[in-house]
């Protein structure tokens, strides 16, 4: 359940809606996606000014003191508007780690920088062999006299292109448990290969070869709990964004079916398509109900691993189902890169793929029953 008062939440929702309808035409979004940095710094500063970047941080650190449920509305709007700014990467994932790291000057400083919109930080947790298992870490951190020496590879680091620094998970050679380390992007031994994803977002492969960092850059020791919790928060954020994208996709599909004619009548009059639309609606609505139920219980207790796995499974299944049917009903035109439809589909397909897809979490759910 939300921690913020209703009037603040209403204000946030209103500002998000306004931003999307005033500042975020599809053409503009596409231009941003293919720009060098892949998003708009102006927008990001606006996010800071509107306090969107401050929502989930503690008030004592300059945040609004909200929780994850307080950003669900914003993220749903982001999904609806196909926003490309790297909010989940910097604010949700890195932000959640910093909020729960040791209360050092470093983490306080980084939190303040995020809230002000001055930095991007990316969490680098995934590895080639790890699939979505956040505890499957081969990257090592060895304590030396000068600090920690980190070696390994990280893949699919979201917004790595723009990250001023990374938070990197590594097996501490002392404790034999994972720790989290702060590594500035320009640290020696760190090399990055940046990619664009099919949905326009950016992701990076990082190589760490004898990367030496000072001891105070160890943000969290025994990070298992926090890493898992951060995955939970990130998965929930993705699921909220997906809700908005699915809503928009359904709306566009219904509108198109009412306008497009075949055999002299609108295709919305064909029972087969009507039933497809009805199934899309049912799929979206039940996914939304599940999402809201989990959010409403959050104040009492974080979602259990089963709860969040079930939500990610359902959201991924729904994303594919609604995407595929949206294209089918649009016909050929839905297959073109020119129309919005396909880009919503690509974002939803990516959302399923991030932080463990339906199949991955269904398997973990199956093993937990």
């Amino acid at each position: 359940m939300s921690k913020l008062p209703p009037d603040i939440l209403a204000q946030l929702a209103e500002s998000a809606q306004k931003f999307i309808s005033n500042e975020y035409s599809f053409t503009h979004r596409q231009a941003l996606a293919s720009s060098t940095i892949g998003y708009s710094e102006k927008h990001w500063q606006m996010f800071a000014d509107l306090a969107w970047l401050a929502i989930p941080f503690n008030e004592e650190h300059g945040g609004l003191g909200g929780n994850i449920a307080d950003i669900s509305g914003l993220l749903e709007q982001f999904g609806y508007g196909l926003i490309i700014e790297p909010y989940i990467s910097t604010v949700v994932l890195a932000g959640h780690v910093l909020s729960n790291a040791n209360d050092s000057p470093l983490s306080q400083e980084l939190t303040a920088q995020i809230i002000s919109g001055n930095v991007h930080i990316s969490l680098a947790w995934q590895e080639r062999q790890s699939s979505a298992n956040v505890m499957n870490i081969k990257t090592t951190a060895t304590e030396t006299e000068d600090g920690y020496l980190i070696n390994g590879e990280k893949i699919s680091v979201l917004n790595g292109l723009n990250a001023d620094s990374y938070i990197i998970s590594a097996q501490s050679q002392n404790t034999k448990t994972p720790s989290l380390f702060f590594v500035a992007a320009d640290t020696k031994g760190l090399s990055a290969q940046h990619h664009q994803l099919y949905d326009g977002h950016r992701a990076t492969t990082l190589q760490l070869q004898n990367v030496l960092i000072p001891k105070q850059n160890q943000l969290v020791v025994n990070a298992e709990e926090l890493l898992k919790e951060t995955m939970t928060v990130g998965m929930y954020a993705l699921c909220c964004e997906a809700l908005g994208s699915m809503e928009k996709l359904l709306e566009m599909t219904i509108e198109y079916a009412k306008i497009r004619k075949q055999f002299g009548v609108p295709i919305a009059s064909f029972q087969a398509l009507r039933h497809m639309i009805s199934d899309m609606y049912v799929t979206l609505k039940k996914t939304r109900c599940l999402n809201e139920q989990i959010a409403s219980q959050w104040v009492h207790h974080s979602p259990s691993p089963q709860d969040i796995a079930a939500l990610k499974v359902q959201t991924g299944k729904a994303a594919h189902f609604i995407s595929r049917n949206a294209i089918q009903i649009h016909g050929g035109i839905g297959m073109t890169n020119e129309l919005e439809v396909g880009h919503y589909v690509k974002r939803l397909t990516t959302i399923d793929g991030l932080l463990g897809n339906s199949q991955y979490h269904l398997a973990s759910l199956a093993n937990s029953l």
Binding site: L290, Q297, L365, A366
Partner: protein
């Protein structure tokens, strides 16, 4: 489960549990174990109805003035959760959830006084005479006629799919009293006090599982006083529509029933061999399918909770009613399909004798297999009755596309 919001609710739950754990007769538990249908054994339904009536719990959705217990939403939720998750038989919906609310809304003072108390106590039981052989999901084309004859109607025609018609003692009926105007304009809602008036005949319909549950009811010049109209002559469609909406809003407990079905599925898997030395319950493919059903169940539960929260006057109430019908019935069917898939050939044996309550024929070992096939067969109706899946999709499409 979340901790109860306050101590009173915790106490309330304890009181319910204590009663349900300690005061249910054995033959009801036997009926629970042998239930293979949406409708459990009628005898067990009525045993429970009368038992709950002694506690004032038989009509928990009714307003207090008519005998309801005056519970809060939360109390009702707790009651249904505890009641349904034990698999106990729900009160007959035709009596408690259909005809009664219609009488509360449209009945005269006399009708209310005459009919409601015996429904609450379990003394009177009702069935629903809506469907006809050529009017299934499109009720407005019904043809059973009630012709005026002084202060009586003379009824001629046939009703079908009348659940429990051979068990109950009352029937409420949609009949055609006029063929003028739009088809739904000439329909009248009648209350009939007996199942054996001169000219009435009830013929049970045997289902695929070999059991009677539905019936045909024939009317050959059956005379009924005009005072038996509920509401106004030719305005029966208004009553029927109200009732349909009320019925929808009264839902919301499939989640508890289906939770139990999912758990039973795993119990079944625990006693079923895969032929290679293991039990099906350890098969990763079975576990994956269970996980899929588990996700579906969570969606259904969340959808029901949402529908209850928004209530029946919300613009989305009709959407949610169709959604819940589709999803709960899909899940019901899928559970029964998976149960059949994992059962061995012993599930193919027709054990009707062993399924009767109080039967002396013992079920074949393992007992978990007893209900698998009849449940599977019976559940084929879940996507047909109460508005088929196709009809529900038509309704939803209309709501969603033209909004």
């Amino acid at each position: 489960m979340a901790p109860e919001k306050n101590m009173d609710l915790g106490k309330f739950r304890n009181e319910i549990c204590d009663f349900l754990n300690n005061h249910i007769p054995d033959d009801v538990w036997e009926a629970v174990a042998k239930t293979t249908s949406y409708f459990p054994a009628f005898s067990a339904v009525m045993t429970m109805h009368k038992l709950l009536a002694t506690k004032g719990w038989s009509v928990v959705n009714w307003p207090e003035e008519y005998g309801g217990p005056g519970w809060s939403d939360e109390q009702r939720r707790i009651f249904f959760e505890e009641y349904c998750s034990r698999g106990l038989p729900m009160m007959a919906p035709q009596s408690v959830g259909m005809v009664a609310p219609a009488i509360m809304k449209f009945g005269t003072a006399e009708q209310k006084a005459k009919y409601l108390p015996p429904i609450a106590s379990g003394a009177d039981t009702w069935c629903q005479g809506y469907s006809e052989p050529n009017a299934g999901s499109d009720l407005v084309s019904l043809q059973c006629r009630a012709d005026s004859d002084g202060d009586h109607y003379i009824i001629n025609g046939q009703k079908t799919w009348t659940t429990w018609a051979f068990e109950v003692d009352h029937i409420f009926l949609l009949v055609r009293t006029s063929s003028e105007g739009r088809p739904q304009a000439g329909i009248t809602f009648l209350l009939i006090d007996s199942m054996s008036l001169p000219g009435m005949e009830v013929r049970p319909i045997i289902g695929l599982d070999g059991m009677p549950e539905q019936a045909e009811v024939f009317f050959d010049n059956v005379r009924v006083p005009k005072t038996q109209v509920l509401g106004t002559e030719n305005q029966g469609w208004t009553v029927a529509k109200y009732l349909l909406e009320h019925e929808r809003a009264a839902g919301g407990s499939f989640q508890f029933v289906l939770r139990r079905e999912l758990d039973k599925l795993r119990t079944l898997a625990n006693v079923t061999d895969d032929g290679h030395g293991s039990k099906i319950s350890s098969d990763p493919v079975f576990k994956q399918k269970c996980a899929e059903l588990e996700v579906d169940w969570r969606c259904l539960a969340a959808s029901e909770n949402y529908a209850r929260r928004i209530g029946s006057n919300h613009p989305e109430a009709a959407h949610m009613a169709s959604l819940i019908k589709l999803e709960s019935m899909n899940l019901t069917q899928h559970i029964s399909e998976l149960a059949l898939d994992i059962s061995g050939t012993l599930a193919l044996v027709d054990q009707q004798l062993a399924l009767h309550i109080g039967s002396e024929t013992p079920p074949i070992d393992p007992i978990e297999v007893l209900t698998v096939m009849p449940t599977y067969l019976n559940q084929r109706a879940s996507s047909i009755f109460g508005g088929s899946h196709q009809i529900q999709r038509d309704i939803l499409a209309k709501l969603v596309i033209s909004k």
